[in-house]
């Protein structure tokens, strides 16, 4: 039998764990998968050193979306911080509102009424659907399977119409306010929501047939982009990325907040952590969210207080303290760390999203010895979102 020996003379040698790359030796090219690129989620630059078709080293450059929100929020009163913080994570904006409202209520000692908690849960699940309906077929979109993305964007548009009915805005809602929410459900909302959920059920079956049973998709995604088990602790991997590797991390189950302890759901845990399994975990998340929305609308009371009494928001002084509030976004554990000093302005608000670890250092580690064609798929499979890295 012929034994095929691969010629590795073009690849750099390792010395003390660092690769020796000599750019003058004409064996390597530097390519920027730059900030304006159809294969990047958002605006982030990857500087790749390439030998032939294989990536040898990569560095992530962020900073194209730095808007200085944390410095801005130190000079604004608490109620003025809400329109700012909502823009920190662009595809799924309601999680920022909830985290800020929960921190403020925790430090000021305000108790939120039950009806408001049900409505907050409903809005968070709807936001999760809005980002997943574009994210699940987006994995096929990196390989030019455009059909799934087109169908997903249509169904997402119907869900955004429900948001517009409920809150008045399509993308940025500003529905969750300190003390509760801003309004009740309109007339006939439950019926229209049920129609949209039926369309999502059909979409879920279509995506299964189009993407997950597709031979070319399986060949491109199975066994590629593996997260090794020892990396999970070193790089603090959370959310669907960890669940695909066999470790069950879900903030909704571990630290129940709002009304999640009254809902009945299971998180899906996969086994081999490659790109295919991560897509599969998100696809199951989509079905879990639809199920949860149906349960919420069945169990929710019909009327109640939606907002607790707060002092005059323009002159609200919150006592000195610090807190950390977390929730489960579609990408993992998302949290706010807030420090106040007794005045009407916050002292420090620090946001931590899951992409902070996964897009910068974990991606650099994963891209070594990967093919150029797979760079975009790996990045999208980790669900990186540059706005939350740089705020």
């Amino acid at each position: 039998m012929l034994k095929f020996e691969q010629d590795r003379s073009k690849f750099p040698e390792e010395k003390d764990g660092k690769l020796e790359i000599d750019l003058d030796s004409q064996k390597f090219i530097k390519i920027w998968q730059g900030p304006n690129h159809p294969g990047i989620t958002g605006n982030m630059a990857l500087e790749l050193t390439v030998s032939g078709d294989e990536v040898v080293e990569s560095k992530t450059h962020v900073g194209y979306l730095h808007r200085g929100f944390e410095k801005l929020m130190e000079r604004r009163k608490f109620i003025q911080c809400f329109p700012i913080c909502i823009r920190m994570c662009v595809p799924e904006p309601d999680i920022n509102e909830y985290c800020l409202a929960a921190s403020v209520e925790d430090l000021a000692g305000i108790e939120v009424p039950d009806m408001a908690k049900w409505l907050r849960t409903l809005v968070l699940e709807m936001a999760r659907l809005v980002i997943l309906l574009r994210g699940v077929p987006g994995q096929g979109g990196t390989m030019s399977l455009g059909m799934g993305v087109q169908w997903g964007v249509y169904v997402r548009d119907l869900m955004i119409d429900r948001f517009e009915e409920l809150t008045g805005g399509r993308v940025y809602h500003m529905y969750i306010a300190p003390g509760g929410v801003r309004g009740l459900l309109p007339e006939g909302f439950k019926g229209r929501m049920e129609e949209v959920l039926k369309k999502i059920d059909e979409f879920v079956v279509d995506i299964d047939n189009l993407m997950f049973s597709n031979a070319v998709f399986k060949k491109r995604t199975k066994g590629i982009g593996v997260i090794k088990p020892e990396w999970i602790e070193q790089y603090s991997v959370v959310g669907p990325n960890a669940r695909a590797a066999g470790i069950n991390r879900d903030v909704r189950k571990d630290y129940p907040y709002l009304m999640y302890d009254k809902l009945d759901f299971e998180s899906y845990v996969g086994k081999d952590s490659d790109i295919y399994t991560r897509s599969r975990v998100r696809w199951h998340d989509l079905q879990t969210s639809v199920d949860m929305i149906r349960q919420i609308m069945a169990k929710m009371p019909n009327k109640g207080d939606i907002r607790a009494k707060t002092p005059n928001v323009l002159h609200w002084k919150i006592p000195k303290g610090e807190t950390y509030q977390r929730l489960e976004s579609s990408r993992g554990e998302y949290g706010f760390y807030m420090v106040t000093d007794g005045s009407a302005y916050p002292r420090r608000i620090n946001l931590r999203g899951p992409s902070y670890n996964s897009a910068v250092l974990l991606l650099e580690k994963m891209l070594v010895n990967a093919n150029i064609s797979d760079v975009s798929s790996m990045m999208v499979s980790l669900a990186t979102c540059p706005p939350e890295i740089e705020r």
Partner: protein, 302 residues
């Protein structure tokens, strides 16, 4: 009946004009079909005309050297050259173009000619991404040629001739004489090669926008982009006509030519809409597995 050289040239140019227009319309119809599958309305059918007029009316300000601009010229001349050597309509002495006996070998050469011209030209731009793109295209093309050549050898041995005209002549007299039914292995191998030549998914790794968006479509601007676009349109029709002549019985009138080439091209779109793309090494390995087996069977069993 002999006709003068001048009439032959005039009819060839008229044929080129008809094929060009038909190609633009067909491109518009295919894009509309793909859009309807995706749930959109789609572009108007005459959209490729508008794109062509817009591209040809722009001018360029910078220069990268003469070789850079000769790239699209080579490609377009490869496409037109391919057209001029294929007989279009069987039975009519006016539409034979410049076909002669033994012209299959020349046709296979012309297919590769355009690709090589692009490779020489695109590298002059100084952008490393275009070099990567072109080298991928060449690697893929080399793999595609293997089952294609085997299928042609098998047909040449079956019909005992190397001239396309004679192959078409041998397939007349009813559907059962088509190569599709007399030599199915060669047809299957040939159609696999057709998928690779048309550069649709799953084999469109050359122009992959999610990986290397900067390449020939971005570097070549204005008139040169118009030239690349026109070449793409003509090449699709001409390839479909070539395959129609070899495998599906040729055409005896323009209407039959239009219908048959539309359906042959539609197979590619039909498959390409629902598949993502393969990587380059996957493509090369795929073409050297099943299509190669079919090609070898075709040669053995003829």
């Amino acid at each position: 009946m002999e006709i003068s050289l001048l009439t032959k040239i005039l009819f060839s140019l008229l044929g080129l004009f008809i094929v060009f227009n038909y190609g633009l319309l067909q491109a518009g119809v295919m894009r509309k079909i793909v859009a309807r599958v995706a749930g959109r309305y789609g572009i108007p059918i005459y959209q490729p005309y508008i794109d062509l007029i817009k591209n040809y009316s722009k001018r360029t300000q910078i220069t990268h050297g003469v070789m850079f601009y000769l790239g699209p010229v080579f490609r377009f001349s490869g496409g037109i050259g391919l057209f001029f050597f294929i007989p279009m309509i069987y039975g009519s002495v006016y539409w034979q173009n410049f076909s002669f006996s033994g012209d299959i070998i020349l046709l296979m050469y012309f297919q590769f000619f355009g690709m090589l011209g692009m490779a020489l030209g695109a590298g002059e731009g100084g952008q490393p991404n275009s070099i990567i793109g072109i080298s991928r295209g060449l690697a893929q093309f080399t793999a595609v040629e293997v089952p294609f050549t085997l299928a042609i050898i098998s047909i040449a041995v079956q019909y005992d001739t190397l001239s396309v005209y004679d192959i078409v002549a041998a397939q007349q007299g009813g559907i059962q004489n088509w190569t599709l039914f007399t030599n199915p292995f060669a047809v299957i191998a040939g159609m696999f090669a057709f998928l690779g030549l048309m550069r649709h998914a799953p084999f469109n790794v050359v122009m992959a926008p999610q990986e290397i968006p900067i390449g020939p479509p971005t570097e070549y601007h204005s008139t040169y982009l118009g030239m690349l676009q026109s070449n793409r349109v003509v090449l699709h029709i001409v390839e479909a006509v070539l395959f129609m002549n070899l495998f599906f019985g040729g055409a005896t009138s323009w209407l039959e030519l239009i219908i048959k080439s539309f359906f042959i091209y539609f197979i590619t779109v039909f498959i390409g809409v629902v598949f993502p793309r393969y990587r380059v090494d996957h493509t090369v390995r795929w073409f050297l597995k099943i299509p190669l087996v079919f090609g070898i069977l075709a040669v053995l069993f003829v």
